[in-house]
Every structure is written in C-alpha cells, then in structure tokens.
C-alpha cells in the first residue's frame, strides 16, 4: 500500500511540488509499479549477475592530462545570482 504520505515524501526528496489530486493519482500509479516489481521479484535470479550497466563495455578511461577549464565568467554564465566570482545561493547554515 503506497500512502499519500509516501508520495509526498518521495516528491519532497526530488523537490517536486504536487497538488492534492496529483498525490491521489500518483499513489495509485506507484502502487501498480511496486506491484509489478513484486512480480519481477518472484523470478528465479539467484544465478544471474546483476546488470549494473546496459552496455557490454568496460574500462573506459581517460589519461590524467589537464585540459583548459571554463573561464570564471563562462562558469557563472548560467547562475541566477553571483557575487565575488561565486555562485550566490540562499544561506544554508543559520
């Protein structure tokens, strides 16, 4: 059973704001999804390696060689607010 509180909690973790009717609707949807997962869990998977990646590739590396970075101006280009070369954000420790 997925409660509306569960939905609200998951939404808050992802910073999503939901209206009341959306919460109701989503709790039913999530219920179906979780049920489906349960169905999958009933399969015998003891001898199957977990898939951590869908591509059959491994060991993609980069050499430890420096390439130019963005300028400070470029880096801050998308910031909503900036100050003294830094991104300016609401205060996080009072």
């Amino acid at each position: 059973m997925i409660s509306q509180e569960d939905v609200q909690y998951v939404a808050s973790l992802s910073r999503i704001h939901l209206k009341k009717d959306e919460v109701e609707c989503l709790s039913k949807d999530l219920e179906k999804i979780v049920d489906y997962i349960k169905k999958l869990e009933s399969l015998e998977t003891a001898n199957i390696q977990p898939t951590s990646h869908v591509l059959p590739i491994q060991n993609v590396f980069r050499e430890d060689i420096i390439k130019p970075s963005l300028s400070q101006k470029e880096a801050l280009h998308f910031s909503i607010e900036q100050h003294q070369g830094c991104f300016k954000v609401p205060k996080i420790i009072e």
Partner: protein, 482 residues
C-alpha cells in the same frame, strides 16, 4: 571519574583523502588547491545537462595502491553509484560515489600506541568518489557563496571498523594512517588545506555490553588534536546524558574549535535517504590480478615495517625509530649514515635534534638541503675526537645547511678547532688557579660545580675554543696533585 568507568567508548573514523592527481576524477580540469573561485570548472564538473563523466586512470591506480597498503582485498569488479541529495555544493544534486562494489574492503592498519603495543584497527572499506564544491558563509550576510573549483576532486574515503576505544586510539590511528598515506605519495595529506579530512562516529555503552550504543557523528575538526578534543568532549557529554537517564540522540554534531565543544547540526538535516543506484553514465571497471600485482610492486616499505627493521637491524630505541620514520627522507638519510658510521645512537641524536630543528625551520625535506651524510659523519667524528666542542659543532651544522661547505673547511675558516695543546692549556690552568683561590678550596671540599665554574672561565679566556675535557683534567690534576 569513577562514574565514567562504567562505560566503554566505541569509535569509528571516516577519513576523506584528496588524491594528488593532475586532473579531477571525471573531467580534465586541473586538480589544484586555492586560486580564484570558479576558474577550474567545466560542463562536466558543473553538472550541465548532456555531459558525460570519464574516469581518470590515475585515480584507479592510486586507489588500488592505498587499498593494498591498508591490507585490503581489492575488488576485481568495481562500479560507481549515485548518492542523491540536494545541497548547493553539489551541482548535479548527486555525488558519484561507490556503494556496494567499493574498490577495497576488509583491511587493517597496525597502529603503534604509547605503551609500545601494536593495535590492529580494521579497515571496513575504502571507496572512490568525487569531492563537492566549497561553501562559504559568514555571520553577517543572508546568503552563501559557492566555489566549484573543488568539485570533482578525486577522493578516497577510508572507513575504519569501530575498533577504537579512546580519543588517544583515534589519534594514534590517524597519525599512522597519515604517515602510511604519505609514504605512498598519493596525497598531500594536509588537514589545513582539507586534503585530509576526518569525521568521527562515537558511542558509549555499559562495560560488558556487546551491542553498540546510539552514535553521534562528529564533523568539522581541522586537526588531529581537534579530533581528539572533540571526542573527549563528546564522550563526556554522552556519559552525562546516560547518567541522567536520558537517551542519546543519533545526530551529526559540529565541533566548535573556539568554544571547544560540539553542537547539534539541527539546521537543514533531513533524514538521509540517498537512494543509491548504479551510475548509468559510467561503465563498470575490471581490475586484473596482474594490475594489482604490478601496483603492489610500487608500494615502498611502509612506516610500520621500517620501524621494526630500524629497531632490529640498527638497535635503535623505540623513541628514535618512531621519530625517524615520521620523515621518510630523513630515515633514508639515516641509513646512508649508518652504512659508514657504526654509532647509530649518535647519528640519531644529531638527526632527531639539531638536524630536525633545521629542517623544521626550513620547512624542507633533508633531501632538498645541502647537508650530506658524509658531512654529518665528519661533524660527528670531529666532535667525538674533541677537535671541536659540542657548541661549535652546532654552529658548523648551521653553516653546512647555509653553504654546503665541508665540515673541515668550516672548522678551519671559522677558527672553531678547540685548543688541546698542553702548553697553552697548562698556562691557562695556572692563571685560573692563582686567580680563584676561593673556588679551589671549594673544589678541594668536593664541590664538583665549582670545577665546572673554572672550566667555564677557561672557555671564556679562550673564546670558547678550549677543549673542556682536557682543561678539566689538567685543572683537577693541578689542584689535587700540585
């Protein structure tokens, strides 16, 4: 004190180590310290949409090296996972870390403690991850500032098992761990610059209890001393909470260096729910046994092994061995000296006092100074033979550090050789005996101090160049036998 004896302390430490690669872990921005804010970022470490991380080969090698040095098993298959949380120092709103397949696990570190015993502290796991950006705020302004230069700096997180039972244990572990990591040459290990950071988990439980008590996590300690002090404070706090019948609350507490106390980090701490899942932007990595073996060969003799070897092979005291291994280049220097000079104790006496003092003043490793093993041995031999006084030898050492000149040359140029010739010294002795009849009486009455005074006077007369042993002998002979 009696009440606190009812409880046992349990401590586990998490050490975050910045690896000194040239570039960041998943992009080609320079991995450096300081500089103008936001000048070492790119679309990857800023977390801009459509970018992909690519793993730095060197980080893997360093990770394996650290894991092996900590006696860990290296996983043959590793992968990265996303640790999700919102915080302004994390531009992607997730940190790329390792969850269930860390690079290293199940190791241990042997830690020499004060009473000469070796404590085995288990390493639970060690994994690779990216560092977050730097947040700055002050008491005055209603905002925080973010510098993303540090974002993406390669980190190795080393998690100990809860095997420590006192703040001193934790301190000793950190010292040994830091020294081991310094020998590996994989990090600056500089707490002031934040390249080595430590969080501590601490709980107490009634003696004899096997279940762990509720822990608190301590953060914000800027030195090993601060870690020790924070733990001491926290243990006392938890003890008084328990004794008053209250419960310990599981929480993160910050150490306040000025107030010397921990306080609860109530503010924005919501229940941690990181929702780890495999990082889809990075493929898994396999580590072959050949690779592990080849890195194993690159690990130098570690401090604990050097410590044992120095005691066994050179018969050094625990104190001397312990001090020497703190500085790998100094330990190497000692070994070269020991090859050419039998008296290892004397070499240590010089290295662990005056030489160390000079190195500290110069903030340089001995290999970067002008002192050579040959020159030091010459200095010791000249002092031993009474050619120069101990005091003059210290001056010679200083001049060697400054100029790199040969010991013999310095002694000659500075006129530091002691006067040992009998005629001169006998005359001085005569003069002194004549001028100091009162003192002579005291010496005859068995006052050794008075003889010391006379020797001092002789040194003064000869500008510190008299051989003090010889003049002492002459004075004694003259006074007692005429």
């Amino acid at each position: 004190m009696e009440t606190t004896q009812q409880f046992e302390t349990v401590i586990g430490l998490e050490v975050h180590l910045q690896l000194k690669t040239k570039t960041k872990i998943f992009c080609s921005c320079a991995n450096d310290f300081g500089g103008e804010p936001n000048t070492r970022t790119c679309p990857v470490c800023l977390g801009l949409p459509g970018t992909l991380p690519v793993f730095n080969k060197q980080v893997l090698d360093y990770g394996i090296k650290i894991g092996l040095a900590l006696n860990c098993a290296i996983n043959n298959v590793i992968k990265f996972d996303r640790k999700n949380y919102y915080y302004p120092d994390l531009p992607k709103a997730y940190q790329i870390s390792q969850f269930d397949l860390p690079i290293a696990k199940d190791g241990f570190l042997l830690v020499p403690s004060l009473n000469n015993e070796l404590k085995k502290i288990r390493i639970h796991r060690a994994h690779l991850e990216e560092d977050a950006g730097k947040l700055m705020h002050d008491a005055v302004h209603p905002y925080s500032l973010v510098d993303y230069n540090r974002t993406g700096t390669p980190l190795m997180e080393i998690v100990s098992s809860p095997d420590m039972h006192s703040p001193q244990d934790a301190y000793d572990y950190l010292q040994t761990l830091k020294l081991t990591l310094q020998y590996l040459d994989v990090s600056d290990c500089d707490m002031e610059k934040g390249s080595l950071r430590c969080d501590a988990n601490v709980s107490i439980r009634p003696k004899g209890e096997t279940k762990l008590g509720t822990k608190t996590e301590l953060k914000n300690m800027n030195s090993f001393k601060a870690v020790k002090a924070a733990l001491e404070y926290e243990i006392a706090r938890q003890t008084s909470v328990m004794l008053s019948g209250d419960k310990i609350i599981q929480e993160t507490r910050l150490w306040d260096e000025n107030k010397q106390m921990t306080f609860s980090m109530r503010s924005k701490e919501e229940a941690h729910d990181y929702r780890y899942f495999p990082e889809p932007d990075l493929v898994p990595f396999t580590i072959s046994d050949e690779k592990i073996q080849s890195i194993k060969k690159m690990i130098p003799e570690l401090p604990i092994d050097k410590y044992h070897r120095f005691i066994e092979h050179y018969h050094l005291s625990d104190y001397d061995a312990r001090l020497l291994i703190q500085d790998a280049p100094l330990a190497d220097f000692f070994e070269i000296c020991a090859k050419n000079f039998h008296d290892t104790k004397k070499i240590c006496n010089w290295l662990n006092t005056q030489v160390l003092q000079e190195l500290n003043e110069r903030k340089a490793p001995i290999s970067k100074t002008l002192l050579t093993p040959d020159n030091l041995i010459m200095l010791i031999q000249k002092t031993d033979a009474g050619i120069i006084s101990n005091l003059a030898a210290k001056d010679v050492l200083k001049i060697i550090f400054e100029t790199g000149k040969q010991t013999e040359q310095i002694i000659e140029e500075q006129g530091l050789a002691q006067i040992s010739d009998d005629v001169t010294l006998e005359k001085i002795a005569d003069d002194l005996i004549r001028e100091n009849q009162k003192v002579i009486e005291q010496i005859k009455n068995g006052e050794q101090k008075a003889l010391g005074f006379l020797i001092g006077q002789a040194m003064k007369k000869m500008n510190g160049k008299a051989n003090p042993k010889k003049i002492g002998d002459i004075l004694q002979r003259r006074i007692f036998h005429g």
